[in-house]
């Protein structure tokens, strides 16, 4: 069950997240990313100040915003019944180690579908100058009691 009234709700900004070079490498290793994601010299040759994060790294930041929703009593989302349906990342610019990021989540839609609920969350990720760098769009399916 999901409270349909949370559609359109905006949640507070998350605290700043400093993208650490070794965290980027740790994540890159976990997703078996190619050498380009680990090698600082390579990143510099490509014109970056530091390592570029692997494309799904913003999930780490999205996770912080999602945690706020899942602990919101108004949302009534039972985490044990949640299945990840879809995920998308749209980049305005690459995220680089050293970036100081915050995120803000809004509930784009809540739909009911054959006993299940589908919730779409848009998480906007901003840098220190408050410029949008990436939007992470996540669709969660919350299975109904009988599903």
């Amino acid at each position: 069950m999901v409270n349909p009234d949370i559609q359109g709700k905006r949640y507070p900004r998350t605290p700043s997240y400093l993208v650490g070079r070794e965290k980027v490498r740790e994540f890159a290793k976990a997703v078996m990313a190619p050498k380009e994601c680990f090698d600082l010299e390579f990143a510099k040759q490509n014109g970056y100040e530091d390592l570029v994060v692997p494309p799904t790294f913003p999930v780490v930041i999205q996770e912080q915003s999602l945690a706020i929703v899942l602990s919101d009593p108004e949302a009534q989302i039972d985490f044990a019944r949640v299945v990840h349906g879809e995920q998308k990342f749209v980049f305005q610019r690459p995220i680089i180690a050293g970036d100081l990021l915050t995120s803000e989540l809004s509930v784009a839609s809540v739909k009911s579908l054959g006993g299940n609920h589908m919730v779409v969350f848009d998480t906007e990720i901003f840098d220190e100058s408050q410029t949008l760098v990436c939007t992470a769009i996540s669709t969660l399916v919350v299975r109904g009691e009988d599903a």
Binding site: V31, T56, H84
Partner: protein, 138 residues
Amino acid sequence: MPEITELAIGDIVAEKNFHLDRDSLVRYAGASGDFNPIHYRDDAAAGVGLPGVLAHGMLTMGLSIGPVVSWLGDAGKIIDYGVRFTKPVVVPASGQALITVIAKVVELDLEAKKARIDLQTSFDGNNVLGKAQVWVQL
């Protein structure tokens, strides 16, 4: 860096196999912060009616883009990446799950120098990601 003018619709630009074991799932749990126990404990997975311990969907999504990053030589050229999670990847307690990724050109925007690459990620003969689409800036 590949040149957009050298690409044609239907070109396979990258192809790679990945082997996932339980260690891979624990490593991803730690790196991502997603510690849902269905990704490393058999009893937790069985308790919610799953066929076994499942790989994180985000792990499958994350590794599927690797071959495209390698082809581009620059993760910063990926401007849009989305997937639908259609089937679970069951990872045995011992042994490995084999995942195959094929990346194919499906759309070219010569003016904006953008290409759409679709990924086919399969496990056990089934596609586990649907609508796995990547836009790259060339």
